[in-house]
């Protein structure tokens, strides 16, 4: 019986022989040739192949010169690519700064007509900026996300070095726009942007981590439309990808989003459970803002359950994180929470000062719902103090501000009821709570009807 050569056996194990040769070796091995099987067993990967590379013995090092040539080649290419990338990033920053210095109409002209601004680097920069604007200035976020979409839609595969990169840029830009519009309560616009993102997601090869990120945005979109089952399903898809990739902090972020769904559907136990698990997984060093968001939600949940002292204690320990984050929205959230917890502890003066500050800031930012909600909190303080003229003044101002920024008729009707009641000195704490609770729900549910209390 003639045996295959060791080279042929190696080629067989690596699946590299021609089909005829593969067949001949397979036929030979089918007989059960112990001599050849000894060779192929040695070529079969060892059992310890699944071992953690961190535990590889250092003694193994230094004796694998066969790899040197390949490593030299790859390292050289990577260093060249890195230098090119650095240049591109610097170009992206430069184009971004130039673009943002122009008035809005000029930006459109530049993006539509100038070849210089048809740039992948600029698009990447705009998408990066969306992450920043998300925390800093929600209205600017929409503007930046629209610019990102505009640039992404003008790029072609040649500009990006491949179809996959182009698809990834487009889907990310559209998902950011959907998210930005959602945050700014433009639910219809948000839905259209997410539909576009979804079609791009389904029709293209997108890197898994980007796919999961887009799914997370889309889950929030479903939640805004009160499609809670779909939201949970979408978050689960994102969570599965993060789990597979070992992205624990991003998985924690997704669990935080799931806790919000639980809160919306009244699943208190689920909300608390996901919040705690999210806090275990989110890396406070790598993801400080998200960690802070999870802590914030936990404090608020404790307050809402009447566990005000626990909320106060946790707020005390969390305050440094807000201050470290330092962005305007987080500082406002801190101040608002301080007012809320102070109100729960009957520290009325502290609550009043906090609510006034927060309300003025939200009005200045043009965030109608938040301005209205903090106004109702302030009105509650005045009601407790028996300052009916102030209650009435705050109610009138809130209505005017809200109408200037929002067209949601039912929310306006709710504020109108409160304002009318305040005018005749009939606005009590219960009504303030009722209107506040309605506004929170109506924010993401334009179809919700307000029924005035009898």
């Amino acid at each position: 019986m003639s045996h295959p050569t060791p080279k042929e056996l190696e080629g067989f194990v690596l699946g590299r022989l021609s089909s005829a040769e593969m067949r001949d070796v397979a036929r030979h091995l089918l007989v059960g040739c112990p001599q050849c099987q000894e060779v192929t067993t040695g070529l079969w990967e060892p059992e310890d192949i699944f071992e953690d590379p961190q535990t590889l013995s250092l003694a193994e090092e230094g004796s694998h010169d066969g790899y040197d040539e390949v490593l030299d080649r790859v390292f050289e290419r990577i260093l060249t690519t890195e230098a090119r990338l650095t240049d591109q990033r610097s170009l992206g920053r430069k184009l971004y700064e130039e673009l943002m210095q122009c008035p809005a109409e000029r930006r459109q002209l530049l993006l539509g007509n100038s070849q210089r601004f048809r740039s992948r680097a600029l698009c990447e920069r705009l998408i990066e900026e969306c992450y920043e604007a998300f925390f800093e200035d929600p209205r600017r976020l929409v503007e930046v996300a629209r610019l990102a979409v505009q640039v992404a839609d003008r790029l072609d595969t040649g500009d990006c070095g491949g179809e996959e990169v182009l698809a990834s840029l487009r889907v990310r830009a559209w998902a950011h726009l959907g998210n930005a519009l959602r945050i700014n309560s433009d639910l219809m616009g948000s839905e259209q942007a997410f539909t576009k993102a979804e079609s791009l997601l389904n029709g293209n090869r997108i890197p898994p981590v980007e796919r999961a990120r887009v799914l997370s945005f889309m889950g929030s979109g479903h939640m805004a439309h009160r499609r809670f089952a779909e939201a949970l399903q979408t978050f689960d898809r994102a969570a599965t990808i993060y789990k597979k990739l070992g992205q624990w902090s991003l998985l924690g972020r997704t669990l935080l989003q799931k806790s919000l769904v639980c809160s919306e559907v009244g699943d208190d136990e689920g909300e608390m459970r996901y919040l705690r698990r999210a806090l275990d997984l989110i890396d406070p060093q790598a993801d400080p803002r998200v960690f802070l968001a999870a802590r914030h939600n936990l404090i608020y949940t404790l307050y809402e359950r009447g566990r005000v002292r626990e909320a106060f204690a946790l707020l005390y320990h969390t305050r440094p994180l807000y201050l470290k984050a330092g962005d305007r929205i987080n500082l406002l959230k801190l101040r608002w929470l301080e007012g809320t917890v102070a109100f729960g502890l009957q520290r009325i003066d502290q609550a009043e000062a906090a609510f006034r500050e927060v309300r003025e800031a939200f009005m200045e930012l043009g965030l109608g719902y938040d301005a209205a909600l903090s106004s109702l909190d302030l009105a509650s303080v005045y009601i407790l103090q028996g300052r009916s003229a102030d209650v009435s003044r705050v109610a009138e101002e809130t209505l005017a501000i809200f109408q200037a920024h929002n067209s949601h008729r039912e929310a306006i009707a709710a504020l109108l009821v409160f304002s009318s009641a305040a005018r005749i000195n009939r606005a009590g704490i219960d009504l303030a709570r009722e209107v506040s609770s309605f506004l929170k729900r109506a924010r993401n549910n334009p179809d919700l009807r307000f029924s005035a209390p009898s």
Partner: protein, 177 residues
């Protein structure tokens, strides 16, 4: 923030590569990746490292972890190619009409003996595939598997058969996993 905006990496990608070089060689050698096949694996991982949009806190651990996964995927891919080749070879023997009777009888005996060492469900599945010439959909129907899962089960059985041919001592440990 991208990986390269991270001060640890940005300051000296060259230094970083120099530092990880011995570990990379150890890793590839440990996973027995032929030098000519390391090029793509390493380039993909390093490109991902420099392109990544979010901060990578520990680039060395990230790179080694990523390469480890790529090495495992590499072997999985090689294995799949081998299973397909074994499958094709066996199907070809069985289909060859002009084999001399003695050779055919020997082949049947060897195949029976090889299948006999596999778990029952693989035995039935591969017997239907090789002896009766059933296609995967028919095998699924015959054995009560869902059409969606038959491909995965067939691959596992082919893996078991291939292991039996190539590394018989290793066979029992991995069958059906």
């Amino acid at each position: 923030m991208s990986a390269l905006d991270h001060p640890q990496v940005e300051s000296s990608l060259e230094g970083f590569l120099k530092k990880v070089r011995p570990r990379l060689k150890t890793l590839f050698a440990h996973y027995r990746i032929p030098p000519q096949d390391t090029e793509d694996l390493l380039q993909q991982a390093l490109l991902a490292l420099i392109y990544r949009q979010e901060g990578i806190r520990d680039p060395e651990a990230w790179l080694l972890g990523t390469l480890r996964n790529k090495c495992l995927l590499y072997w999985r891919e090689q294995r799949r190619r081998l299973y397909d080749a074994v499958d094709a070879a066996v199907l070809e023997f069985m289909a060859a009409p002009l084999e001399p009777a003695q050779e055919n009888a020997d082949l049947q005996r060897d195949l029976t003996s090889a299948l006999g060492r596999l778990p029952e469900r693989c035995r039935s599945l591969l017997a239907l595939r090789y002896r009766q010439g059933y296609d995967p959909a028919e095998v699924a129907q015959r054995l009560g598997y869902s059409p969606a899962s038959i491909s995965k089960i067939t691959t596992r059985c082919l893996a078991a058969l291939t292991r039996h041919l190539v590394a018989p001592g290793d066979c029992k440990k991995k069958v059906g996993t």
